[in-house]
């Protein structure tokens, strides 16, 4: 769902996007990955991504189980859901720019549940500048949220954007 909203936002800004969720096991809580390509021309390749330029990690603990930096391109952008500060993180040399957001804390505030997806879209917009907050909100309004759910997610995107610390690393 998050990659779909991001794809909508990117299309909103006049670019082409192709998002593919990679499904793991059919159970709640299993690690999942989604891939998103952005281009200024039509995208033909429908495959997963093995050398990402950007990583958005929406779970504070997943890196204990999965090497999220596998294939990460040099000079990339890493956006991480975490309460930790810059000094307490292992940052690979490939990372050029880092966005840190206490998405877990914000999610408990807004949803009373650790749902960090839309918060981290805001964090990505703030860190990368690839997509505007307005486009993200536009993408969200055409996704499947109504009433309170829509309001909560709007707030989530905005707080994700506003409360992300962006660090230039290399």
């Amino acid at each position: 769902m998050a990659s779909k909203i991001l794809a909508k936002a990117i299309v909103e800004e006049g670019q082409f996007a192709l998002a593919i969720p990679s499904f793991g096991f059919e159970r709640r809580g299993a690690p999942v990955t989604a891939f998103l390509r952005v281009d200024d021309k039509e995208i033909r390749t429908v495959t997963n991504i093995y050398n990402p330029d950007n990583i958005i990690c929406i779970d504070p603990t997943i890196s204990r189980a999965v090497d999220i930096f596998k294939g990460f391109r040099n000079g990339g952008i890493w956006v991480q859901a975490t309460k930790k500060s810059l000094d307490n993180l292992d940052i690979p040399e490939t990372v050029a720019k880092l966005g840190l957001c206490d998405a877990f804390g914000i999610a408990l505030d807004i949803f009373n549940k650790p749902i960090t997806n839309s918060i981290m879209l805001g964090a990505f917009a703030k860190t990368s500048g690839m997509v505007s907050l307005d486009s993200l909100k536009e993408g969200l309004t055409t996704a499947n949220f109504r009433d309170a759910g829509l309001d909560q997610n709007m707030a989530a995107i905005e707080r994700g954007y506003n409360e992300t610390q962006v660090h230039q690393i290399n």
Partner: protein, 408 residues
């Protein structure tokens, strides 16, 4: 779950292939949809169900107890004059098989999406074309899509092809599980009025009907000692084969009309990509084709005279179109997303070998099998395919089949 109302909305939306298929169903205005969900088709019928619940599709929805009933319901509805649709894949398809196989013989123009999934066993819930390829000899028309937009467009065209009086056969529109079913991108939505005009009035039961005013025997016992004897049975088969051959022309005409009306052009049977000055070509089917084209572009930049041939219509088999295409190259490599157990190669490869026999000069060919059970066919895989295919020109032969993901 649906994203936007059909009317008074922008003409493009961002959605995945399953939702795009549901929009196509909406635009085609079926009277009856019967469903049973199964991965990776589930969200497609959920979207359709939601559209019907929202009044966006004015159809009856039957949420039945299994796929055997799904197709049986559509038989009855189609015989009563309804335009009908369903979608399935994998084990659901296998459970549907008995009424599925009856459908084309009764000449019922039912349209069904196959959201392709790899076969059993071992158990797998991921994409692959083994389920669709199992349907090769059932007498359904079978069309494979490359992109989400093509899913939407082809599915609308399918109703016109199926209901064409020279065809009168059911159509499967196949889109790859995972990569197209869940792949999200921008698609253009045709105008409802233009689709209405393109499809015309539904025309499903002029030839065979459940109608008290014109009683007739439907699916009668024929052949052997039955009424009518073998000749009646033979006439059914001949008519069915003739309908399949007519479909080649009708599919082509339908795509031409689609381009005139909606401005989007697809090769109806066999697509040629950068083939005019090519020495050799790779052959693809389905969603892998885009990555294949990008890989061809890369190889071209390195001086390789390679092109790509995409099989869009697989049933009926476009023999003449393929033969004309194959005469342009001196070697091929065929990439399948499924297996022909009998021939130890991919099924597309196996059939293309039959086409090659009709060429004046024999050309070498390799069977590549990749993308099984959700695995990927990437630019790197295609680079290997292109290299091995081209090496045949210098007499460096590779033994088939080559399993692209065997070390992953």
């Amino acid at each position: 779950m649906p994203d936007a109302a059909l009317t008074n909305e922008p003409k493009s939306i961002v959605c995945d292939g399953n939702e795009a298929a549901a929009w196509a169903v909406s635009l085609a205005k079926p009277d009856m949809v019967a469903v049973y969900p199964i991965t990776p088709q589930s969200s497609l019928v959920e979207y359709v169900s939601q559209f019907i619940a929202d009044g966006k599709i004015d159809a009856d929805l039957m949420d039945v107890e299994g796929e055997h009933s799904v197709m049986s319901v559509l038989h009855g509805a189609c015989l009563a004059g309804a335009r009908t649709y369903t979608a399935t894949c994998g084990p659901g398809l296998y459970y549907m098989f008995e009424p599925y196989v009856r459908t084309p013989g009764m000449r019922l123009p039912i349209v069904m999406s196959v959201v392709t999934r790899d076969g059993l066993t071992p158990q797998s819930v991921w994409g692959g074309q083994q389920d669709a390829m199992m349907l090769r000899e059932t007498g359904w028309i079978q069309i494979y899509c490359e992109s989400v937009q093509e899913v939407l467009d082809s599915l609308i065209m399918a109703f016109r092809i199926a209901e064409h009086r020279d065809v009168m056969l059911p159509v499967n529109i196949c889109h790859d599980g995972n990569y197209l079913s869940y792949g999200v991108t921008k698609v253009f939505l045709p105008e409802q009025e233009m689709v209405d005009d393109f499809l015309g009035d539904k025309d499903t039961n002029w030839h065979v009907a459940l109608d008290p005013d014109r009683p007739m025997s439907v699916d009668p016992l024929t052949g052997g000692e039955g009424p009518g004897g073998p000749s009646t049975f033979v006439r059914y088969r001949q008519g069915h084969c003739a309908g399949m051959q007519n479909a080649l022309r009708v599919i082509t005409e339908t795509h031409e009309e689609w381009e005139r009306k909606f401005g989007r052009c697809y090769a109806p049977l066999i697509e040629e990509y950068r083939l005019d000055d090519a020495d050799y070509a790779i052959v693809t089917i389905g969603s892998m084709s885009g990555a294949g084209k990008d890989a061809v572009d890369v190889a071209r930049e390195q001086g390789q005279k390679v092109g790509l041939i995409r099989v869009k219509t697989f049933r009926p088999f476009p023999m003449e179109a393929l033969r004309n295409t194959l005469t342009k190259v001196k070697a091929i490599g065929v990439v399948d997303r499924s297996v022909s157990f009998a021939w130890n190669c991919g099924p597309v490869f196996q059939e293309i070998q039959a086409a090659l026999y009709q060429l004046k000069e024999r050309i070498p060919a390799i069977s590549f099998i990749g993308g099984l059970a959700g695995s990927d066919i990437t630019g790197e895989h295609f680079a290997r395919v292109i290299e091995a295919t081209g090496n045949q020109l210098a007499g460096d032969m590779t033994e088939s089949p080559v399993w692209l993901n065997e070390n992953e």
